[in-house]
Symmetry: C2
Subunit: 306 residues, 2 copies
């Protein structure tokens, strides 16, 4: 089932206690696509400037990523520079240069209008809505957002929520959007705004899948070494949506399995700088880690109560 | 299988954004026993002053709690006063008065020396060791500790670790004890000091069960209302150890089920001030919540990979 992501294609400069990287491949659409492509072909819509190392994107095309929907425009590419705390629990943005991303108006290329599984990465909700208007009959649409849009474009974001199947955000965003610090009440608040499901990402604590009257939790994969959390949430989304596209199903059982694929991709993402955590990772590796994941949460059937 | 807990029997004054309580039943042994007694009879060893509302303890004896090992001594009972932040994520100790607890030297009463499942609540590790010396042939011993003992009695604590089967602490304590902020490395550090297993409690994020080469995670029960986190960790321990005592088994499968009972008891504990979250809770209620818990983490079997 055709899979589409719209989001940023950026160059990231990242400082962590374990090293740093400059102008590395980044942006929500890139992290999403690298993860998703391990499960299903994926088409990307975005924009880059004429300074972007396009050959690096093209090298990734062999994985099943269709970059033909990434416009190339005169000017500077979107750049982000950030620094993490010693325990990677918080980060500070040192610099954001939007460049050509400031004038990004997503336009779906021929063939993309029929996309069935659609992820609207973290961009202006007005643009996310414009993408929805260009998709003919999606089966399942999920979107991300961030504090900036929650504060500056709240009404547009609420209009978007009424039209998507799922919101996928981190816990801080869910709390800010709902105005409620209890994560389960926050999730219910979001569900009452339209989406049938909400995924709340909790970093090293895993992620929640909330539906009316039912919850599911998946922990993060146990890792003794974490190098760079940048893009882990988008890799999670890529694993989640890529699995749904491959499975060709969007019921609750498949959503739960999609959570495991999402968390698996998140674990690869944090294991290297930028997208390097995925270097050398095969689909067979993913399936093996998914099996390990299932053991991590498996409660053996109990004997009858005494 | 006989179950024994040694710990504090206190009077707590608690302030939260949702209300407050003064001189309520508290202390690690009380929270543990109230939870454990829903699954198995439990014997408590501790000390109280002559100001303690012993009739309130005696009222709880009907649940299957044997308080005969709680010494009554002239003087003031242990009192703790604390205040929680608006989101219950942090707390400040306003006052600690040790009273008769300062001179507590646990002495097991006749009949307690044969205890098979033993929980050493958070007290001086020297006293925890002295309890171990009084137990003839325990099948499974778990202990708790806190930052105060990690800092002031480190050597005694390490001697204790070499003699117990499990350490059960919160994530901050595991980090402080090991000197490592990565919780999986911290867990491995602890395992290398003696215990065959370690449980790391993570509050609203659930709890980890770590064994050499294998991990298990249980989330917290999804609650839209949380009133008072005091004692939740001890209630978790009570559910965990009470289940093992009832099941009469200490293999990994039973440990995983014990994690579910622990988390279930934690969820009742936070639902009311002091031990009131357990009012009206029956063993049948516990079993029903355990079943809901299993659904919360259940990953439906996947179809073969495409």
């Amino acid at each position: 089932m055709s899979l589409l992501v719209v989001g940023s294609v950026a160059l990231d400069s990242i400082f962590t206690p374990f090293g740093s990287t400059a102008d590395a491949l980044g942006g929500s659409a890139v992290h999403f696509a690298v993860a998703a492509s391990l499960l299903h072909p994926v088409r990307v819509v975005g924009v880059v400037g004429d300074d972007y190392p396009v050959h690096e994107l093209e090298r990734l095309a062999a994985r099943g990523i269709d970059w033909s929907g990434v416009e190339r425009v005169r000017g500077e590419s979107f750049r982000w520079k950030g620094k993490y705390s010693y325990d990677l629990q918080s980060r500070e943005t040192l610099e954001t240069r939007l460049g050509v991303f400031a004038d990004f108006r997503p336009k779906l290329p021929a063939g993309a209008h029929g996309a069935r599984i659609v992820f609207l990465g973290n961009i202006d909700p007005v643009l996310q809505l414009s993408v929805l208007d260009q998709v003919a009959s999606p089966l399942f649409v999920a979107c991300d957002t961030m504090n900036y849009w929650i504060q500056s474009k709240r009404d547009d974001l609420l209009r978007l929520l009424a039209r998507v199947d799922m919101l996928m955000v981190n816990d801080g965003e869910a709390r800010e959007l709902s105005g409620d610090w209890n994560i389960h009440r926050a999730g219910r608040w979001i569900l009452e705004r339209g989406p049938k499901r909400v995924v709340i990402k909790q970093g090293e604590y895993g992620a929640l899948l909330l539906e009316p009257g039912r919850s599911f939790h998946i922990p993060a994969f146990p890792l003794e070494e974490v190098f760079d959390p940048t893009g882990a949430g988008d890799a999670f989304a890529g694993g989640f949506m890529g699995y749904l596209a491959r499975a060709n199903a969007v019921d609750t059982d498949h959503m739960r399995r999609a959570m495991v694929y999402g968390a698996t991709m998140g674990s690869y993402s944090v294991s290297g700088f930028a997208v390097r955590g995925f270097e050398g990772v095969s689909t067979a590796d993913v399936e093996e880690r998914v099996r390990q994941f299932v053991d991590l949460t498996h409660v053996p059937l109990a004997e009858p109560a005494a």
